[in-house]
Symmetry: C2
Subunit: 229 residues, 2 copies
């Protein structure tokens, strides 16, 4: 059921299937965008997360949901198979070792390509600078930088269109994200945040992502609907 008018502006929303991106999608719907949800599978997590993305896209009445696969492994296996694992030797204080080089640049580039095909100039991404403060590509400066690049990189930009990258969660705590998402109709039981979710999408309850998520529900004073193993 899609109640968005045919004439609504289109937005491409990056949707991982986790808590933050589900909330970002709900934000875009509430803003009146006709939403086009894009999940990029670069081998990062369990297939259950992509299934969660599909459920969330349906529940939030996305016009379309696409999954693109990016095989970072190359031929013969490599550091690119798992960029984060290649990093510890270069890691510095302040930036988590789970940082994936240029990840959000790649994700936004793919979103930008689809946006241009759709005639859209709005991109939506659920990045958050509070919980992940060490990630360079989760900062407002990066978001503004990508907007500037999009204006230079595209036919639409050259013709005068102004691309906007919306990052509505960027300054929110996890508790604020959850409180907002519930107001906007997100069913968090559908989302999968766990780095080690099982094939049914049940969370381990112990990894960093589970911990942050659980703390968010606690801080918001809300019951955690996450299905744990």
């Amino acid at each position: 059921m899609n109640r968005v008018a045919d004439s609504a502006a289109r937005a491409v929303v990056l949707l991982s299937g986790g808590l933050d991106s589900a909330t970002a999608l709900a934000w875009a719907r509430r803003e009146g965008f006709a939403t086009y949800a894009l999940s990029v599978d670069y081998g990062q997590r369990h297939h259950s997360e992509l299934q969660a993305a599909a459920r969330v896209a349906r529940a939030q009445a996305a016009r379309e949901h696409r999954i693109m696969r990016v095989d970072l492994a190359g031929i013969g296996g490599s550091a690119l198979t798992d960029w984060s694992m290649a990093l510890p030797e270069h890691s510095q204080a302040g930036i988590p070792v789970s940082y994936v080089p240029a990840r959000n640049t790649m994700l936004l580039a793919l979103a930008l390509g689809w946006a241009e095909v759709l005639g859209a100039t709005d991109l939506v991404v659920g990045v958050n600078a509070v919980d992940w403060s060490g990630y360079p590509d989760c900062r407002a400066e990066f978001i503004r930088g990508f907007e500037a690049l999009a204006a230079l990189a595209t036919k639409a930009g050259v013709e005068g269109a102004r691309f906007k990258v919306h990052a509505p969660l960027i300054a929110m705590s996890k508790a604020q994200i959850i409180q907002s998402g519930l107001q906007w109709g997100v069913d968090y039981a559908m989302t999968v945040s766990c780095y080690r979710a099982d094939s049914d999408g049940r969370a381990c309850g112990r990894c960093d992502s589970c911990r942050l998520r659980r703390q968010g529900f606690n801080a918001a004073g809300l019951e955690d609907p996450t299905r744990y193993v």
Copy 2:
């Protein structure tokens, strides 16, 4: 045989297997970089082009050659399967219909990710603003814009590294590219430019890319080593 010193600065070079990128790789080698060649297969051309890329990488003594696959088709087929085909209805004077939305942004994002893993801050791309003057992401403004984004997007950039995107061919004619490449040791018989190359990498001789290439050899007063069907 790689005569580049172990201490040489590393550069990630985008290598399609065509004439321009082979020349860009040779330029990087001549500049003294230890080269890491990256081919991105987004379903754009015949497999023979990727084989050409592998041959060129070997001949130019690249330290490594990686091929990344990006499946733009998503689930169920879409305009993304062939972005260029989705565009004619939006096309405007001055920008060729063969323009692929956000292509160079995506390619450079993947190169940037590998560069960060390698500890490299130099990227090399064979874009050219003369033959393809209508492409927004082949212009110097775009290249400078990507450098600015890379500084914001990466751990290295935040820590003060200055990323450089080298586009040594950007202002050259096809004839100048060929003349330079021959000086730098490129064997153009290895490269495949044709949009419809057969499985042996033999060119059709009639498509736009073949036409530009042939004109380049003619203008340079050089014999065309291209293998035609």
